[in-house]
Symmetry: D3
Subunit: 252 residues, 6 copies
C-alpha cells in the first residue's frame, strides 16, 4: 500500500532547505510582504519561506462574499506550491478560506492561521480571546472556534473596527487594537489574546509586552506547525474525505 | 430606519407571481431540469419557479474542491436573481455551497437544500438519517448537521457510492439508494430519511412508499421554505454579519 | 407496506381548501381570535384556517403548572381536528405544550410556534433573541432552544414582564416589548427577534419596522410550515416513538 | 426575607417521622404497592413512606400521550401531599412526568426516578445504560439524559419490549430484562445498569447479583435522595422559574 | 460471579453503626474538625462519621500544584478507611482531588463534595452558581461542572478572594462571601448557591436565611449521598475503568 | 508590566542549543531511553533533548491510581528543568499526568503527549482514532479528548490489551497493535491513528507504512510543539489560573 506518512526530511546541514509557502489569500502585495516577513522570523534554519498571493480576487477579505471569491485563487496557489515541491502550505487569512479544498489538493500539510492560533493558544492554559478587524467577521471566528472544538476556550471575539487594509496606514489602528486586547484581558478574563487578522502579525511582540499576557499571531503559529508537521513526515490523510478530488470537466 | 421586514406580497389572484429562483450549483443541464421540475411540483399557485445553473464551474460537486470552484458561479446567479426581482433563492446542492455569501448578497431570502431538509425533518419527529452519493462527502453532511444544530437528531449519514451524474443513468442507482435507505430505517433506527443530493429529488415519493417512513427531499423542502419566508416578508437580517459586503477592488 | 408519505394535495383552483387548525392552548377567546387572524393573513389561497381553543384549562399559560393542565385540552383539539380531516395542526403557545403527544395522536403534521419561530429565525442568518412575557418562563424558552438544537443561535431570552392576558389591554405593553426588542438588538447583538408569546403575533410587522431587523412571530411561522409540510405530503413519522399511542384503559 | 432553606428536621428518636410520598403516576394499584414496598425497604428509620396513585389517568404510561394525561393526576397528588405536610415527594415513573410543575407546586423537595437513577449512577463511575420496557419510550429516556446533563455517560437505552403491566405477570419478562442487561454490560460496555421503569424496582438486587455490576433502581434512588434533601433542609428554589404558579381562572 | 451490589446494611436499632469517613485533603486540623462537625450534623442516626486528614501534604489547596501534592495523602486515607471497614468515603475539597483513583482503590462508595453539591443543586430547580475562595480556582470549578455534565446549569463561578485558611480567621470573610452570593442571585440569576470550599460548610444555614434561596454545602451533600448509596448497597462499578489498580512496583 | 511573552531565542548557528526536557512519568528506565530517542529524531538542529524520569513512583501508569502517584515525581522534574533553564517540557505519558500543575510551576511551555497528538491529528483532516494499551485506560483517553475539545473528531479509543511494560518485550505486541490500528481505519473509518502510549513511539513510522494513513505519536508531536512554542517566545499565561502556586507550608 502507498505510504501516506511522508519521508521525514533530512535535518543535516548540507540538505536543501524545506520550502514552506505562505499564501496571503487577498491580492494586496503589501500585506503579502508583511506576512512573509513574520513567517521568516520564526521559521527554523532549514526552512525557506515563500510568501505569495493569488493573481485574482479581492483586495481584502471582510465578508463571506470576499472569502468565496478569494478561494479559487488560493487553490491555484496550492497547486503551484505542490508543483514546486513545497513541504507545506500556510493559508494566511483568519477565516481559513479554502482549507478543506486545499487539503484535498495538496499532498503536503496545509494549516490555516485561525486553526493554528487557536490550537496553539489552547496549549498555553485554558482561555483565550480573539481580537479581529471588523465586527461583521466575528460570527465567522466563533464558527471556526466551534469547528476546531475550541469554543469553550474562547472567551470572546472582539473587533477593533479597523478595515483590514487600514491596519498599516491608519495611525489609530494600533491603539484601537490595544484597547480591545486590554478589554479581553480585563473584562473577558482571557489568559491569552489571539490576533484575528494576518495583517496584525507584526504587532504581536509589542502587544504582548504591553499586555503582560501571551499574544498569539496565527501566521507565526501556522508556520511553526507546518514546519513541524513536515519534519514529522505528517500530512493530510488521503483516506476518505480528503483524497484527491475526483477528476471531472470544469466549464470555465 | 430602513425596514428589513419586507412588504408581504399580495396573495390575491390577479397579482403577478412571486419568482423563486432555484440554483443548481453544478453545470449539468439535465440536473437543472430535474431540480426545476421537482420545485415546480410543490410550489404554490402564486409562485413561478426558475431553475438555473452557473455558466462556469464543475459538472458535479463531489469534493470540497468542486464546491469551492462552484461557489463564484452560484453567487453570480444570486446577483442575477436579485436584479430580476426574485422573491427568494434556493441553493440546490446538499453542501449548501456559498450560502453565507449568498445571504450577504441577497436582500430576499436564501435557503440551502441541506438546511431545508434537516430543519423540515426535525419537524416530523426526533431522528433522521441522510443517504447521500459518495462516501467522501459524508464528513461535510455531518458538519452541516452540526452547524444547523441538528447533529443529535442525525442517526447516520450513509453513502450509496453512486457518483452524482450517474444517478439518472446508472440503472442500479435506485436500488443502491433504496438499500441504504432501508438500512437507515432498520439499523440506524432513523424515523425519516433525508436525501443527500439534489439529483435524488425525483425519487422522493417512490422511496417513501417503499420504506413506509417520510422521505425528505431538500429541493422540495427549500422551495416551500423560501416561498413561506417570502410570504411572511422575512429575509436575511442585514444587521451585522450578513449586511451587504463592503465594496472593494477585485482583481480578475 | 402502508404509505406514511401522504398524498400530496391537489393545488388546482377547484379543489377543496386544506384545513389548518390553529390551537390556542389557553381558554381565552380573545387570544384565539387574534391568533386566528394572524394565521389567516399568511396562509396561502388554498388554505382554510380554523382557530380553536380547549374547552377546559387555564386562562393563560405562565407556568409549568398551567402548561401541564392545558395539555389534555390541546390533545382533545388535536383529536377533533383529525376527525375533521385537518391537513395540519399548529399549537399556538410558545412553550409548545403537548407537542410530542400531539404528534403521536395526529396523522397529519403538527408544529409548535416556538419550534417554528426558532427554525425559521435560523434560516435568516446566525443569531436571534427571544422576547417573552414573564421572566419565570425564560427557563422554558432556553430549554426549547436546547431541544431544537438552536441554543447556540439564541443570544438571549428577555422578558417584558407583562402577563399574557394584559398584552392586549395594558397600554404600556407595546412599549415594554419594544424596549426589550431594542435591547436584544443593541446589547445582545441579536440579528433577529423572536416573539415569545402567541399573544404578540399582531405586533410583528410594526416591531420589525421600528427595529430594522426581522421579527419572527411563531404563529405565522408555524402556519406556513404546516401548510408547506402538508403540501409536500409530509407528516410525523409513525415508525417508533411517534406511532399511535397503544390503546389502554383510562380512569376518568 | 422568607427562609427557603427549610428548618432541618429533628433526628432524635422521639420525633414524629418524616413523611415521604411516593407517587405512582399510573392508576394501577398493584404497581403502587410494589413501588411502596421498594421505597420502604430503603427509607431510613425516621421516615414514613406513603405510596399513592392518581384517581384518574391511564393504567400505564407507555407514550407521550399517556404521560400527558397522567400529569394532572400527579399534580393533584402533589397538592394532597403538601396539605398533609409531606417532607418530600417522589414521582415514580421513568419519564419523570410533571416534574417541573410539581416543583412549582410543592414547597418540599420533589425528585423523579429517572433523574434520581441517572444522577446516582453517575456517582458510581463513568458510564451506565438504561434498560426500559417498550422501544418507543427510548427517545424519552435519551431526552431526559440530555436534560440532566448525563447523555455522555449513557452508553445506550435498551428495551426489553415487555409492556409495563406485563412486567409482573409475564413469566418471560425477567429473562428478557436480564438479556438486555447482559447486552448492556457486554456490548455497550456499561459499567452500571439503570432500570428504566418503576415496575422493575423489585428486580434490582437479583439482577445485580447475576450481572456482577451495580444496578440502580430509580424508586430506591429517589427515596434516599428526597430523604437526604429533607434532612438537609433543602427544597426547590422558589426564586424565579419554580415559584408558586400565579393564580388564575381554570375552566374545568 | 462476584456480587458488586453490596449487601444492604441492616437498618434495625441494635445494628452497629455504618462508618462514613470524611477526608479533608489538606493538613489543616482546624478545618478537619469543622468539616467533621458539619457532616455529623446531617448524618442519620445509624451512621458514625470520622473526619480525617492526610499526614503529609499542603496546608490548604489553592492551586493545581497543591491538589497534585495532596492526592497521595488522600489515597492513603482511602486505603486506611477501607481497612477499617468504612461504608463510604467523602473527599472534602471542592476540586474533588483524587476522586478517580479513590474509586479504583475503594470497594465502598466515594463521593467528592463538588460533584455532590452540583448534583444535589440540580435537583432543586434549573440553575446554580458557585461561590468559591480564590479566583484562580474558578477554572477548575468550571471544568468539574463540565465533567459532571452540569455546566449548562452553572450560571457563574464567583470568587470572594479570601484564602482558604483565612475563612475562619478573617473577620471580613463572611461579608465578602455574602456579597458574592447576593451577586450570584441578583446578577447571575442563580436559583441556588453552591459553596465552593469545604471551609465554608458552617456558613450554609446562615447564608440561606440571608439570601432567601437554597444554599448547598458539598460536605453535607456528600455525606447524605454516601450514606444513601451505602444504604442501597451501591458502590463504584468494578467492571472496567474503576477495577482495583493492577499491582506493580512503586519506587519510593 | 512584566513581559510574559518570552524573548525569542536566537536562531543563529553559534547560539547555545535550546534545552527541551522530555519527562517520562514512570520509573522505567528503558522506556525513558526509548522516548528520548524518538524525541531526538524529530527535534530541530538547535535543540538539545534531555529525557528524564522521576526518582519515585510507579513502574508504569495503567490506572488513575498509578497516575496520581506519578504526578509528584513529574512535578519535581519540572522544577528541576526550570532550574536548569529548560526552554520547554514534554510530559510523555498519554494521560497527560500533572499537566495543569506543571503549567503553574513552569515559566517555559509544557505540553502533554495526549494533547499534542490530538491537536496535531486534527490538523491532518477530520477524524482520528486512538489505539492504546489496556482497555481500562480508555475512559481517560475519551475524557482528555473532551477536555481538549476534540471528542467529535475522535472516532474510537481502542485497546490492544498489552500492558505498558510488555510493549517492548512481548513479541505479539506489535501485531496486536497493528490489528487494532487496522480496525480503527476499516471499521471506525478513522483517517488517522493516534498512538495512545509513549511506549509505542518507536512503532510510528512502520505502522504508518503498513496502514497507509498518517500515524501520530505524541512524543514526536509534543517535541515539535514545545520547540515551536519556545521559538515563538510563547509560554503558559501567568495571568489567572496558571500563575505560580501561592507559597504555603507542606507537611512531608
Amino acid at each position: 500500500m502507498f505510504p501516506t506518512q511522508r519521508e521525514r526530511p533530512a535535518l543535516t546541514r548540507g540538505a536543501a532547505p524545506m520550502l514552506i509557502r505562505v499564501i496571503n489569500p487577498n491580492t494586496s502585495g503589501a500585506m503579502t510582504e508583511l506576512i512573509g516577513a513574520c513567517a521568516r522570523q520564526v521559521a527554523g534554519p532549514g526552512t525557506r519561506v515563500e510568501a505569495v498571493s493569488p493573481t485574482t480576487g479581492p483586495a481584502s477579505i471582510e465578508s463571506h462574499y470576499d472569502e468565496a471569491l478569494a478561494v479559487p485563487g488560493v487553490l491555484a496557489e496550492i497547486a503551484r506550491g505542490e508543483a514546486a515541491g513545497a513541504a507545506g502550505h500556510v493559508i494566511a487569512c483568519f477565516g481559513d478560506p479554502g482549507l478543506d479544498a486545499a487539503r484535498e489538493l495538496a499532498t503536503s500539510p496545509v494549516v490555516g492561521i485561525a486553526e493554528a492560533a487557536m490550537h496553539v493558544a489552547s496549549l498555553l492554559g485554558r482561555s483565550f480571546a480573539v481580537v479581529t478587524t471588523l465586527g461583521r467577521t466575528r460570527g465567522q471566528a466563533w464558527e471556526l472556534a466551534d469547528r476546531y472544538g475550541l469554543r469553550a476556550r474562547c472567551r470572546n471575539v472582539r473587533a477593533c473596527e479597523v478595515p483590514v487594509l487600514d491596519l498599516e496606514t491608519d495611525p489609530s489602528a494600533r491603539a484601537r487594537i490595544l484597547t480591545e486586547c486590554r478589554a479581553a484581558v480585563a473584562e473577558d478574563e482571557a489568559e491569552k489574546v489571539v490576533l484575528g487578522c494576518a495583517g496584525m502579525a507584526d504587532l504581536c511582540q509589542a502587544l504582548a509586552s504591553e499586555l503582560g499576557v501571551p499574544v498569539v499571531d496565527g501566521v507565526a503559529a501556522a508556520t511553526i506547525l507546518v514546519e513541524g508537521l513536515a519534519r514529522l513526515g505528517l500530512a493530510t490523510s488521503k483516506r476518505g474525505e480528503y483524497a484527491a478530488p475526483p477528476p471531472k470537466p470544469y466549464v470555465t
